[in-house]
Amino acid sequence: MIASALSSANLFGLCGASLAGFGLFIVIIHASLLRRIVGFNLLGAGIFLVFGAIARRGAAAGFDGDPVPQAMVITGIVVAFSATALSVALLLRLFGLTGRAAFDAPPADASRQDET
């Protein structure tokens, strides 16, 4: 019983690890800023699942999981949501001002162009 619970926790931990990998890949590779924001959310979901696996492994004292990492995940989800809200608002404003939803040139090049 305990062994199966532990292995299930580990499975979800490994799932979280892969999700974090997928999320990071999107964040690095996709030009679309909206997709990157989704990528951040995937990365976050993976991280939280790792926390969840840790919490489940720490089941003791009559609790089904360690409440401390669980509470941290709740805090984390809320913070991640406000990050999403802020970045979406910035993206929409950028779109409203420029009509684009991706970064243009890398800033190193943009900064070197001469002023008029």
Binding site: S8, V68, V79, F81, R100
Partner: protein, 310 residues
Amino acid sequence: MTLGLDLTLIAGLLALALHVVIVRDDRNAVVAFVAFGLLLGLAWVRLYSVDVALTEAAIGGGVTGVLLLRTEALIRPASAAPTASRRSGGALAAIACVLLAGGLAIAVLSFPNPAPTLAPEAAEALGRTGLGNPVTAVLLAYRSLDTLLEKIVLIIALVGLWSLAPETLWGGAPELHPTAIPEPLVYLARVLPPFGVLIAVYEFWVGADAPGGTFQAGTILAAMYLLVLKAGLRPAPEVKRTALRVLVAGGPALFLAVGFLGFLMADGFLSFPDGAAKPLIVGIEAALTLSIAGILSLLVAGPPSKAPAP
């Protein structure tokens, strides 16, 4: 049997994540992400973290999904002409991600057995708070400073979000509803909110002793309010209104006030007097629930898009 369920769940999560990575269309990716959020809620149930499952389903799948879908609809003209995703760094990025996932996997598998845990300490200290739900105890007693500051994070994010409005619109009202409001939406917005409020009150009330609590209740309230706004039953409020700002600041302010009360009545900042812990915590939670509902719905509503009345 349960192993099969877990594996199915994990396979679904990974497949949806992969879909988000490779699909060309942004809308498709966002829809897949919403489905992903709901499956993730189930995963949390399987991890016996019902509190987190409720939060994840409400925020991760629900409100974030609304936000992303709306954004996708608004910026679709830009994404219609797809910008070439960077091919050059692809291999390098893939290596970085495999390294991250692999390192994490090794770390997860190398955790000591039996796992170190604070559950016994949390259980032992639970008596001092009078609460029954250990997660609520962690959030509002043991690590209340984290929770308090996280509310400030939300408020700062909101202030920053409002500041993104053009100069003339600052302090005005956001606008959510489309020009033509579909009939069924209005019907839903009339029927659902009473249930929603009831469920939110229930979640908040049981949160002290059973899974549930301020975040979950606040998110449901926020969702109901957003539904009402979206159906155009009520105009969105101007964000400079004092009543609205008092609502937003009220929860954290009460939390702070009780925190300072600890200097006078108990062992110091954020400590509760003996025996009064539970009523104080429930009081804080009530105010926080309203504040969270306000903050979350305003974060989804976005920066003001109508000029304030003079």
